[in-house]
């Protein structure tokens, strides 16, 4: 019975109805590939499991829509053509080319990524589509949203752990917050740029500002968009944004992340505020050696000057708001009177 079925299947497979009903093809393939003992020994000595979990595939985004042969092209021949991969990793890297047949946009965007650059440098451990998305059991990558940082954390464990302790990571974990950024909100998903380049650094205030400058979004959490505005108008932000326009990725100026941290950004309110305040002089000293404890007061902690915050600065501003129109207006008046008199005299 078993032998007869195998012969029948081989005959079916040899006819390879690639354009046939996906369900039929899947059943044909699974009739062998559901066998948990089905495996292949690669030239490296590693074993490659050839088993596909029916449930995992059928409930994936492709389940019931795509047939096995859509990705595993050429496998309609039986016996199957020999694999050229010598290791499991090589097999995996070679397989991801299959995705571009349908997902061409994301595939090409990935080619601009730091991951693709690492791969083309010969780093076979650089992730390909299937390393992040899975292979047979592909599910929407952002469901739930917290899954994204776990996906990145498979390789970037240190950063992922830091993120989990940050204000953003905690809100994500504790409240399933849908507004806080996960990895891909800052780094993007496919065209993931190397985050150590100068241009990435000089652009980073815009990145933070895309949320922290959004009044409607910040209002939900009682946060002020003044943090972004005040940064951009004071010395550091001014220098950084002017340097960014040069496009050479070079700035000596402190960016958001230089004071707040990158992945481990703590909450700047509540108990943390006092900690940050106490550390402020040290934070300043990392760029301004010799700064004394009164130096941080030169920085208005993102407050706009008012009678309660930085009253001296506010008073000086007021003096000039009054003085400039008064003096210039007076001078203009005197000029106009003089001109008028000259005209009258003629």
């Amino acid at each position: 019975m078993g032998a007869a079925a195998l012969i029948l299947l081989a005959a079916l497979a040899a006819q390879a109805p690639a354009a046939g009903d996906p369900a039929d093809i899947i059943e044909t393939c699974l009739s062998c590939h559901e066998d948990p003992s089905l495996e292949l020994t690669l030239p490296s000595g590693e074993t490659l499991s050839l088993t596909v979990a029916r449930e995992g595939f059928m409930t994936s985004v492709h389940g019931g829509r795509q047939s096995c042969l859509d990705c595993h092209t050429g496998m309609d021949e039986f016996p199957h053509p020999a694999l050229s991969a010598r290791t499991r990793r090589e097999f995996r890297v070679a397989s991801y080319e299959a995705c571009k047949q349908c997902h061409f946009n994301n595939y090409t965007r990935t080619l601009d990524s730091a991951h693709a650059a690492a791969l083309s440098r010969g780093d076979v451990n650089a992730p390909t589509c299937v390393d992040c998305h899975g292979s047979h059991d592909i599910r929407p990558p952002g469901e739930p949203r917290s899954r994204i940082s776990l996906t990145c954390g498979q390789c970037h464990a240190g950063v992922s752990a830091q993120y989990a302790t940050s204000a953003h990571g905690q809100a994500l974990a504790d409240h399933a917050n849908t507004d806080v950024p996960v990895c891909t909100d800052c780094h993007e998903s496919h065209a993931i740029e190397g985050a150590t380049s100068g241009n990435w650094r000089t652009r980073s205030p815009d990145l933070c500002g895309s949320c922290h400058g959004d009044a409607a979004l910040m209002e939900k959490y009682g946060l002020s968009t003044a943090v972004h505005r005040t940064y951009l108008t004071e010395f550091h932000g001014m220098t950084a944004s002017l340097d960014a326009t040069k496009g050479d990725g070079r700035t000596m100026s402190a960016l958001c992340t230089d004071c707040h941290g990158v992945h481990d950004i703590p909450r700047a309110s509540g108990e943390q505020a006092a900690v940050m305040r106490a550390n402020l002089a040290n934070t300043c000293r990392s760029c301004h050696p010799g700064a004394t404890d009164s130096f941080p007061d030169a920085w208005l902690s993102h407050w706009e000057p008012s009678w309660t915050h930085a009253p001296l600065v506010y008073a000086v501003q007021w003096v000039y708001w009054v003085l400039i129109p008064f003096i210039i207006g007076g001078l203009l008046l005197q000029i106009l009177l003089h001109v008028w008199r000259v005209v009258v005299n003629r």
């Binding site: 951009l232 108008t233 004071e234 010395f235 001014m238 220098t239 944004s241 002017l242 340097d243 326009t245 040069k246 000596m252 301004h288 010799g290 700064a291 004394t292 009164s294 130096f295 941080p296 007061d297 030169a298 920085w299 208005l300 000057p305 930085a310 001296l312 600065v313 008073a315 000086v316 501003q317 003096v319 000039y320 003085l323 400039i324 003096i327 210039i328 001078l331 203009l332 005197q334 000029i335 009177l337 003089h338 001109v339 008028w340 008199r341 000259v342 009258v344």
Partner: protein, 221 residues
């Protein structure tokens, strides 16, 4: 033939020329820093080689301006103490009387015109405005060049306050020059298009009689 009289010494003419160059440099490199978010300001900053270059030029010009101001004050104070210089720019009661007389004349309330000495009240106003303004921008400018040192002795908030003052005073100075000085030295019908006296040192007797009659009488006495 017009009789020309000497009004400004070589030192005064050189001083004006140097201040003119430095003031222009400071405005060109300073105002774009104040309005850096405007497109025109960013264009100037980039044209001059970026913000670091602009700050560097501004600071060098500022230090040179500080030296010129210090030299001026030393010369004036030394001149006054030794008695070799008459302090013709000191503000006195007569200046307020002259201002009121001029105002009444402009308004057509009287036909009497104030008769001025070597410097009229407007020139004194501009001089003292410049001296006070210079002291403010020099002191606040030094605070901004040396914030760490300043914060060693003074509260940190002095630094952003100095920036606000420097920025406001700079704008005030710029507008005063644009509005007042350009009018008095160029657009004023009495001197249009260009009062050359501060460059040549010479003024015609007719103009001196019209603008500084008391000085002319003093010279002839």
């Amino acid at each position: 033939m017009t009789t020309m009289l000497q009004r400004f010494s070589t030192r005064q003419r050189v001083e004006h020329f140097v201040v003119m160059i430095l003031f222009t440099t400071l405005c060109v490199t300073g105002l774009p820093q104040k309005y850096f978010q405007a497109d025109w300001a960013a264009a100037i900053i980039n044209a001059l080689g970026g913000i670091s270059a602009v700050r560097w030029v501004h600071r060098v010009a500022g230090i040179l301006f500080t030296i010129v101001t210090a030299v001026h004050l030393v010369v004036v104070i030394a001149g006054a103490v030794s008695g070799r210089m008459t302090l013709t720019l000191v503000v006195n009661r007569q200046d307020f009387v002259d201002a009121m007389t001029t105002l009444r004349y402009y308004l057509g309330l009287s036909n009497e015109q104030a008769r001025f000495g070597r410097f009229d009240y407007r020139q004194k106003f501009e001089y003292w405005g410049m001296i006070m303004g210079s002291l403010i921008v020099i002191l606040t400018g030094l605070v901004l060049i040396y914030p760490i040192e300043v914060a060693r002795w003074l509260p940190g908030q002095v630094i952003p306050a100095a920036k606000a003052a420097h920025s406001g005073e700079g704008l005030l100075a710029f507008l005063t020059i644009i509005v007042w000085h350009i009018y008095n030295a160029h657009l004023n019908p009495d001197v249009f298009p260009f009062d050359k006296t501060i460059f040549t040192g010479q003024i015609s007797e007719a103009r001196m009689k019209h603008e500084h009659p008391l000085e002319l009488e003093g010279r002839k006495r």
